[in-house]
Structure formats: structure tokens, C-alpha cells
Symmetry: C2
Subunit: 695 residues, 2 copies
């Protein structure tokens, strides 16, 4: 059993001030309290919290709204929230209930109201009860301050309840549903049956404790690093969302209610981000959910006709590029998750590969550009000075032509693996060939991945750092070619060959970590590449395409530099401060990178069931695999200073290569690292020790 | 005596990687070492440091260049640097010496060379000695990596020395001078007379210990906060630079060498930044330097004909706006510093006020815009859609018309105070009237400071958050009107009246801390206002115009909110991490804000010798004033939680107002705060308790 660590109040936006506390994550509702006049309440949204007295844990939060000395406590269950307000005695007790959108309210008793909200595009239902009767509610008039904290154009509307001046504690509990009002009330009755805040809090604590206890860490790292680690683990565990309610769920792709039949339906995913780190982490620490997640994807394919990439309640959001469900399915399948319809999943992946556009931020059929891709093996960029002529291209998001080619190559490699597993030999050969398309955008004259026009020539005057316009979108996805030139997760060996061999590959990696802004001010670079935060040289830890890059030294005989880089990144860019992570968390993708890296390994190429070894920051790490099995990692003599692996043993056998397989972990076992202050440049350096970089 | 705290390796640029360690602050020289082939060395610039083993203190640094296992130690004196390199035995010992510019080298013996460098626009001289003879030096061929870390267009050039393979320790010491080569050598002989690294290090430690011991803090704050505090103090103490060498100095404004006659000549200042916090801090902790600093300014005025704002070796740099030497002189004078020629200083300030342009980033005579200002009392902005027609305006920096009016009003108030002290009654009345010009750019219709065209109308369609173009430069200086509307340091009472009274003023302050990006992504805002970092709402702690704003609650009866805000800012935006401060340090301006705020007070209006009380983070603060005098601040029961002042006593008398005078500090004394977890909203809240906000 592990003590739950306090969760730091972190994020890259101004969450420290703007707050995240007046709602619960499954809904958009906001509940507020104060003793002032109703018209003033909106300014309490954020700045009236005394942050030095706040308590924030996964299961409980406590705040002082210091303007009116109202103390707020908050706990939650899967579909419900429970608030406890402590008002100063002798002052009126007002409550202000609002949503961000155009909600409809129906007061059903002096102590309860029902409401619905369609503002997110999906109808949500809320049933709210108060512990004591309040005076009749009045419609709230929104103020400028409240509006300023809400998304553009949305006005807060809601109800104000005025209590009498003698009650000093007032409680509110709310049940939420996607199904209907009755289910919202039923969820509340099932999950928070009594007016017993302590019981609800204890239950929430127990559930989170179970979840966070899947990994136990001790020693080596500081208390601060433990806080960062468990905060990251907490964030990783928040996705995907299980929207099953009472063995039913509202199907977002066919807008009807289904029986769950004992399974669970999951939603809310950003596969472009999460295929890299969050899903692989889940295969280790929450394997019991993985098959239902895969089944949810298959169901969504069946309901919509497309395999989704960004499945949300509103449908498959048209964001980013790639067919990365291929990585999710291949990674899961080859790790042994098989309780889903692989044939059907494969059908969906294959359909996407042939019939869906590869264009960024589009969800539709193919354009002439995909036809070009099928024939020529690369996504064509516009020639220098050429104007866009393909109507399907999102004018803002443009072609991102090189990134599309690179990421599609990786996805096709995953499809090829699944085809082989299914005995579809022809498909396997076809997609294995497509998986090599990354080579078609490598410009041997410059050594960089580069845009290629439809006539086969590389686009003129291409600069790997600065070209591509806003966010690099003409050619790349949010990062520049310095980063995307390493975007060959599935065939690192092939990439090393392209770049001229191991020494040159190492020098290229070093260059990435050393490069600057060519004399420009940093903000000039960030204005063009605003997602490239968390910079170390030109390496952007703040954005996902960077995640696997520090681990690539392992593939060219210098694992000690992987060890050094990941330690430096963790030290520089992750903290327990209000601004604790270097970029968007992206549904736990960033946090999962940290959880992996802090444990000492990371999956460079999901779909290939291995993990690349870095440098664990804790001396004793126990992963509870369930069923009484554990995988334990011990870093002897490990410390901030002793970050270099001198030697390693797996289950008593010497481990001389810088990687382990998923099976090594999943069957339970014991990995020992002997750590020291200076690199052992020999360990894992032999060519034969390199992780599998090709199939 | 205080233990010197380790200095965190902090900064807002990528200093963690780019490093600051291969030179010493007075020069631009770079010295490197490695055992590899000379052609490879440049890549050691930065990324080859093992940051987890580095030691960085004010007096000593130690690094491992882990690519070649070379251990580097470094210490310094006022004009010299001393390196000690430990090479692995049996490997060749190479040294590579370079500067950032086109330096000239002359080898004067097998163990020494002289060099000069003109690349900064001022000739610098270096005399470098090695502890052992080296093989003949060869010209270094620059590599791409080294070039990438240097300012744009500059190529590293230098010499490579190749040692034999048996020496494992090699030392280098360098003397620096602005005067000549002989003085460079003489500085080395005087300051680092022996090949004794330990002695040099001990001496440097002692000097920094004396400097940092001026403030002793204990209790309440964490070890981390002590590290942040002493790091900030260390940075504050680095400016201005005393360039006196052997009782002579090179006069940067007349390019000749002068006798110092026992005084010291100071250079390198950014008055736009430093008048606010760094200079006021110096009047407390290093008063013995203040008169010479004032005399240096007077000398520069005499030599150049203008009172400088950004005095550097290259002359008065044409940056920013204002005549802020007025604040420096008035603040010093009214704090009792009088060993300088006030008449001459006043002459210079007055000349600037009448004959120098107010235009941003210009140093020249008046244009038609100043003539307009003298007549109408505000700096005119262009009307909407009007094209710039005044040839003197810097096309990139534009007019910054509202900020010019506001900052000039403040400077003129300072000049008025000095005129009164000098008995210049007419001048005093004239400048006191000009000090009210801020009212001319306050738009009562909107409540914001706003641009006004030459016809007297306010510019149409003005948005206080977004208008003004890049960095707000049409109307403002790096910040928007939300911030600049509080830029009336000298007449807060008048500003409160303009804004409609205390309650509205408080609401406006709250709005600033709550406001957002109007639904835009944060980077859109930062692209326009890249200096507005360290945001809390729209309050930008990362830029100087914000610094006094959290203390303004004191002026409207809510000191508890000042206490709350400054604690929240210190907690959110200052850390001992690699990225430890929220914006540029600007010659110690940012660090001095922290030193003041951590001690519990801050000067809202330099020129008026009072300090506004915030909330000290330590429980016992002793300022050593010299001559056996101390000012001691005790915060009873103070902690992260207990940040609110319940009551206070100064020298045994109840202190009921949230400010103290400079005299209270400078004469020594004892200030006690009684701290608690909840605000005492009464303390300091009476109108009569407000700090003097008007003269």
C-alpha cells in the first residue's frame, strides 16, 4: 500500500490562478459559494483562493475563498461531485450554480434541481441536491470577470440560492449522466448514497490509492521527485474515460443508449499523442482495461464506418495526422491483449489506410494527394512559390507533407505486423513496403527529412529549422525538420544507415540538443513553433514528436548518453511547482513519458513489444501486475549523481543490452541496475546490443 | 557570518544547456578543454557537461565535461579568471582558447599569450598564462556546433594548445583589462599572484561571503527559498560594474584613461529596469558604493553632454524610454547620499528634460513631438490609420506615446523634488505641474490610460489589452494598457481618484490578476507581448512595469491583498530550478524585486524614501548596515500558511500603517510582524494609514 502523494497544482497555462477546482472532470458544471451579494460572486472564480492553504489530492480538495472566508471542500466519485461549504457564522450563505453554456434548469424541490446542457454538442444531465432548503433561486446575471475565465463567447448563466444567515455548513452533491435525468439521479444515489462527506472522501481515497499503488517507488529520488512522479501517474490514469453508467452507455457514434453487458465503454483519446506513451503505460499498469478499450475502438468503427483517432463524445475530432489506431492495436496485440475482434479492427485500420484522407485535421475520403501517395510513396509538398490547388486541404493546417509521410510509414508498419499475424501475406508485404516510404522524403544531399514536390524534386531553399511557415505546417506537424528527421520509430536501423552510420547519427542527436536560434530571439522561434516548448537546444520536450528521441542513442552504441539526456530533461523540465510540466499534458501523454522515464525505460516504437532503457531516478520500483505478480526494478547506489548504468541483471542473468521486452515485465521479474557517477561507455554499446530496430 | 548558498543555475533562456560557465563576466572570452582531437572540441560547449555533478557558487564552479572525462574547476577575482583542468591520465591534454569575435593573439612565451578583442566595440586586453609549457599553438577551425551557440554571425576563432599525454592537471589564469596589455598582466599579478588555486578560491569565497552576508535570513522559509533568496541577492550584487583598475579607469565616454584618485568608476546599467528595485536595494545593502555610482553618472554627463540611461562601455545605449536618472538621483539624495555634485547632476537631468528626445530607442535632440509635449502635456499618438510622418521616430520601436507620457510624468516629479531641494522654486513648480501630465492620457470614458492623437481626441477603437501592435509599441512599452494604467508611481492617490475611488481601484487590481486572453491561445498573446511572461491573469511578473503593482492594494485600504499577491507571485514564479525566474533579470532588477519582496517590503515610488510593506517569507531577517548597525525584521509565527500580517511593531511602537521609511531602516531598528493564517483585514486599512501617495 502506498501513501497517496499530494498532487501538485501544475499545468502550462495559468492554472495556478485560473484554477481548476470548481468542477469535476466529467462535466462542465461550476458551483460556487460566497457570502457576499450575488452580483459579486463571479469574481471569486479564481483569484480569491488562498493557494497557500489549499489541499489538492486526487480524491479531495480543500480551498479557502478568502474574500468571504468561505472554506470549500470537494470530493468526487466516478460520476458525481460532493461539495461541503463552511460559511462564516452570522453571514448570509449564498450559492451560485452555473454552467458554461446555455443550460436549462428545473427546480424540483426546495433542496434540488435538475438541469441539462447542450453546449458541448452532447446533452449532459445533472441532478443537484442541497443538504438544506434554500430560498427560491433567482437567475444569475453574469459579470465580466466570470466571462473572462470562460471560453470565448460563452456566458455563465445559472441560479443563485440564498440561504439563511445561521447555517454555517451547507453541502451539495451532484450526479452526472450522458444517458438521462433519471440516470443522473440514480448515479448519485448509487455512488454518494448518504449525506456523509467523510464516507465519500474515504471511498474516493481508497479508489485512487488502489490505482496509484500499481507503482511503488522508494529511495534515490527526492520527496519532490516522488511528488512529480505520482502527480504524473495520477494524470496518466485519467484517460480514457469509462462512460459506462449502470451497465449502460450512451453511444456517441450512433447517439443511442446501449447495454454494456458487463464490459466498459471508453472514450476521450488523442491517439496522435497517446499512442506513444500513455497507451503503452496502460498495458503495464492497468492491463485489465486494455481489451475493453480496444473493443470500444472497434465499436466506434462499426458505428461510424471509420477507425477513429480522436474519439470524443462529439465524434472523431478532426485533429492532427496519422492512422495511429494501428499503433494502439499492434502494440496491444503483440503484448498479448486478444479479447477483441482483431479481424474487425484490422478491417477498420485497412479501410482508413486506403479510403481516408491523410490530410491534417480532416476526416473524409481520399483526395488526389492520397492517390499520389499510393503511387509514388510520399505525400507531395507544394513547390516553392506554388499556391495550394487541392480543395480538400485545410487552408490553415496545410499539407504537413513530410510529417504525413513519416507518420504514415510508421502506421503502415504496424498494419503490416497485424496483417502478418492474421496470415494476410499479401497485405503484410504491401504494408511492409509502404513502411519504408520514410526513405522517400530523406534528402541525402542535406541529411534531413525534407519536402518533395510532385515532380520528385526536393523543394528549393528548404531550411530544416525555419522552413514551413507557422508551426511548420507546409511540411511538418508543429515541429521542424530537426525534430522530424528522427521520426522513424519503427526502423531506427534504417534511419541510422540513411544518416551515414552510427557516429554521424550520434553527432546529429548531439546537434539537436546543442542547436540554437541562429541569433534570433527565442520568442521569434516560439512564435513560429509555439508547441516547441521545453527546449533543450532545439529538442522540444514540450511536444510529443520529441519523446522517443533521447532514447535513440541506445541504437548507436552510446546508451550512456540516453541516460544522461533523460536525466537532464527530467531535472530541467519537470517539477512540483505550479508550472510543473513543459507543455500540454495531452491526455496524459506528457505525464506518461515522465512515469516511464522515471522508472528507467520507454517504448521508442509502440507495436514492437520492447522498452528502451534510460536511467531510473528511484532505487526501488515495484510494479504491481495484479494476481500477486510484481516487476521490480532496483537501482543500486542510484542517486542524482549516480545516474549512469554500470551493469545490469535481469532475473539473475547479466543484461548487456539497453532494452527489455514487454514479456520480461508482464510475467513478473527482477531487474537490477548497478549505478555510478561516471558513464560506463561500454555497457550496451556493442552493435549486437542495440534494440531491435527493424523487423 | 552566513554560509554562502549554492546559486541555482537559472535564467529564462536555455542557460541550463547553453551554459554560462566558460568565461567570466567582465569579458567575452571562452576557454575550453578536452582530450579529443581539436576539431571535435567545439561540441563540448554545452551539452557535454554533466549537470548533475556541477557545483555552481558565486566564487567557484566545478564541471565534468563528460565526453572526455575532463574535470574543470573555475574561480575568479575582480578582473581575473583561474581555471584548473583535470585530464584523464594517458590521454593527450588539449586546450582550445577562443573569443567570440575577431581577436588577435600573440604568443609571448611557451606558457603565455596576450590577446586583444575589438568585437564588442571596445578594445579589451587579456593576458593568459598556463601552468606548464604546451606544444606550439595552431589556429582553430570553427565547427558548426560552436558557431550555433555564439551570437549570430560571429565565428569562434582561437588557438589550440596541445599538451603532452602525461600531465593530468593543467591550470590557466587570465588577467583582463580595458586599459592596456600591461594592466591586464598587472591585474593578474595583483589579484592572482601565485599558482595556488585553493588560495584564489578562498579569497573569492571570502569576498562573496562578505557581500552576501549583508543580509541574513533564517526560519519560516524553506531551504529552497533561502537558495532562491541568496541566488537573487548574488545577481543583484553583480551590477553596476566597478571598472577601476589600479586606481585608474578607462573612460568609456571620452575614450581615455583617467586617474580614479581613490574613488571608483561604475558602468553597465539599465536604468529603465534598475531604478525600480536594484538601485533602491543598493542604498540599503551597499550604501558605501552609492556616492561613487552617482559621481560616475555625473562624470558621464560631463564627458558626453547627456545624462545617460543605459551607460555601457560602448556609450549610452539607445534603449527604452524615460529620463530615469532622475529617479536614481532623487531616490539617493532623499535617502541621504550627498557626496556628489548635485548641481551638476540637476543640470544634466534638466538638460535631458528639455533638450533630449523622449522617443523610444533614440539618443538625440528634440523632435516636433517633444515640442508638442511641452505645449500640450502629452506625447501624441498617431490617429487610427495615420501613417508615421515624424522622421525621428524609430520605425520599429514607434512612439510608445502613452508610456512616454506616463514615465516622463514620474521622472519630472523626481526632478521637481530635486529642484525644490536646490531652492529652484520656479523649476520645482514647473516640473511638479509636468508630473501631473499622466492625467492627460487617462480616458475617463473607459477608465484606462489610452493613446491620444494630436487633435486631443482619444484614438478610436482602442482596446486596452490588444491595441498597439507588436509589444504595444504604438502606444506602450512592452506591456499593454491593463498594466500601464497603474504606471503612476509618484501619485497613487491621484490615480485612485481618476479610477473612481478605492473600491473601484481594488476591483481594477483584482481584474488585472484575473483577466485572460479573451479566448485566444496564450501564445497568440505572447507573440504580441513576448515580454509579458510570468503571467498571473494579465499581470506580468516577468516585466518591470508590473513590479510595483501588487503593492498598490496598500494605498486603497487592503494591505492583506498585497500580502496575498506577493506571496502568490513568489510561490508561482520563482524557484531554484534551472528556469528559476519568470523573465529577464535585467541587470538584477528582477532579482532585486525578489530580495525586497522576500524581506517583506518594496519601494513603489523611488524618489520618495519609503517602502511599502508586503509579507516577509523568512522569520528573522537581519540587514547589516555596517558600522555595527542592523535592521532586523522578525515575523513571528510566519510560514507558508501564516502569510498575513496581524499586527506590527517598529522599535517597540505599534506600527499601524503598511509602510516604513528609509530612515527607519538606515538608522537601524527592529520591526516585528505578528503573522497568521487569515488576513487581518483591518490592519493598515484606514485611509490615514495609506502610504504617502502624493507630495
Amino acid at each position: 500500500m502506498v501513501q497517496i502523494a499530494p498532487v501538485a497544482d501544475a499545468g502550462v497555462t495559468d492554472i495556478y490562478v485560473a484554477g481548476k477546482i470548481y468542477g469535476f472532470s466529467a462535466a462542465t458544471w461550476v458551483l460556487m459559494a460566497a457570502t457576499g451579494s450575488p452580483g459579486d460572486l463571479a469574481s471569486d472564480y479564481a483569484s480569491e483562493i488562498d493557494h497557500d492553504k489549499e489541499i489538492v489530492t486526487p480524491y479531495y480538495a480543500s480551498y479557502l475563498l478568502d474574500r468571504y472566508d468561505v472554506h470549500v471542500e470537494y470530493t468526487a466519485s466516478k460520476n458525481c461531485a460532493y461539495f461541503r461549504f463552511h460559511f462564516p457564522r452570522g453571514l448570509p450563505a449564498n450559492l451560485f450554480v452555473t454552467s458554461r453554456g446555455s443550460a436549462k434548469y428545473q427546480v424540483v424541490s426546495p433542496t434540488a434541481f435538475e438541469s441539462t446542457d447542450d453546449s458541448s454538442g452532447v446533452r449532459t444531465y445533472l441532478y443537484t441536491e442541497f443538504s438544506k432548503a434554500l430560498l427560491p433561486p433567482a437567475t444569475f446575471q453574469p459579470s465580466k470577470t466570470a466571462a473572462g475565465l470562460l471560453p470565448s463567447g460563452e456566458q455563465p448563466t445559472g441560479l443563485t440560492f440564498t440561504g439563511d444567515s445561521h447555517q454555517d455548513v451547507l453541502e451539495a452533491r451532484m450526479g452526472f449522466s450522458y444517458i438521462d435525468a433519471a440516470q443522473a439521479k440514480q448515479n448519485l444515489r448509487a455512488q454518494i448514497p448518504n449525506w456523509n462527506f467523510t464516507a465519500a472522501k474515504t471511498q474516493a481515497r481508497s479508489e485512487w490509492n488502489d490505482a496509484l499503488s500499481r507503482i511503488f517507488v522508494k529511495g534515490g529520488g527526492s520527496v519532490k521527485q516522488q511528488t512529480i512522479f505520482y502527480t504524473a501517474l495520477y494524470r496518466s490514469l485519467q484517460y480514457m474515460k469509462d462512460i459506462t453508467e449502470g451497465d449502460r452507455y450512451f453511444g456517441p457514434y450512433d447517439h443511442s443508449v446501449h447495454q454494456a453487458a458487463g464490459r466498459h465503454f471508453y472514450i476521450e483519446d488523442n491517439l496522435w499523442d497517446t499512442y506513444r506513451s500513455r497507451h503503452p503505460l496502460q498495458t503495464i499498469i492497468e492491463p485489465e482495461r486494455q481489451d475493453d478499450i480496444l473493443r470500444s475502438y472497434v465499436i466506434m468503427y462499426e458505428q461510424s464506418g471509420w477507425m477513429p483517432h480522436f474519439p470524443y463524445m462529439q465524434g472523431d475530432l478532426a485533429y492532427m495526422i496519422g492512422n495511429h489506431a494501428a499503433a494502439l492495436f499492434a502494440d496491444s496485440y503483440f503484448k498479448g491483449f486478444r479479447d477483441f475482434d482483431l479481424q474487425k479492427a484490422y478491417e477498420g485500420l485497412r479501410k482508413n489506410a486506403f479510403e481516408a484522407t491523410m490530410l491534417p485535421d480532416r476526416r473524409q475520403g481520399v483526395s488526389e494527394l492520397e492517390k499520389f501517395y499510393f503511387e509514388k510513396g510520399y505525400f507531395p509538398a507544394l513547390a516553392k512559390g506554388q499556391k495550394e490547388f487541392v480543395p480538400e486541404v485545410n487552408p490553415e493546417m496545410r499539407r504537413q507533407a513530410v510529417s504525413v509521410t513519416l507518420e504514415t510509414s510508421y502506421d503502415d508498419w504496424n498494419i503490416a505486423q497485424l496483417a502478418r499475424a492474421l496470415g494476410k501475406t499479401a497485405d503484410a508485404a504491401y504494408f511492409a513496403q509502404r513502411a519504408l516510404n520514410y526513405r522517400n522524403v530523406f534528402n541525402p544531399a542535406t541529411g534531413f527529412m525534407a519536402p518533395r514536390a510532385s515532380d520528385g524534386t526536393f523543394v528549393a531553399d528548404f531550411d530544416p529549422k525555419w522552413s514551413g511557415g507557422q508551426a511548420g505546417r507546409d511540411y511538418f506537424t508543429e515541429c521542424n525538420s530537426l525534430v522530424y528527421s528522427f521520426q522513424v520509430q519503427h526502423d531506427v536501423a534504417g534511419l541510422i544507415t540513411l544518416m551515414g552510420g552510427g557516429d554521424k547519427f550520434i553527432a546529429r542527436l548531439d546537434d539537436l540538443f546543442n542547436d540554437g536560434f541562429d541569433g534570433q530571439l527565442k520568442f521569434v522561434f516560439l512564435s513560429q513553433f509555439p508547441d516547441s516548448t521545453g527546449l533543450m537546444g532545439q529538442y522540444p520536450q514540450g511536444n510529443e514528436p520529441a519523446f522517443h528521441i533521447p532514447y535513440l542513442y541506445n541504437y548507436a552504441g552510446q546508451p550512456w548518453k540516453t541516460q544522461k539526456r533523460v536525466r537532464a530533461i527530467m531535472r530541467a523540465w519537470f517539477s512540483d511547482e505550479p508550472l510543473g510540466i513543459p507543455g500540454d499534458d495531452d491526455n496524459g501523454a506528457m505525464s506518461s513519458w515522465y512515469v516511464f522515464s522515471a522508472m528507467g525505460f520507454y517504448p521508442v516504437s509502440p507495436g514492437r513489444p520492447i522498452y528502451d532503457i534510460g536511467s531510473p531516478i528511484f532505487n526501488d520500483i515495484r510494479i504491481n501486475l495484479g494476481h500477486g505478480k510484481f516487476f521490480r526494478i532496483v537501482a543500486r547506489q542510484g542517486s542524482a549523481r549516480n545516474k549512469y548504468i554500470q551493469s545490469a541483471e535481469l532475473n539473475g542473468q547479466s543484461l548487456d543490452h539497453p532494452w527489455i521486452s514487454h514479456k520480461d515485465i508482464a510475467q513478473g521479474g527482477f531487474l537490477i541496475f548497478h549505478m555510478g557517477p561516471n558513464p560506463n561507455k561500454q555497457w550496451g554499446s556493442k552493435p549486437s546490443a542495440a534494440p531491435p530496430g527493424r523487423d
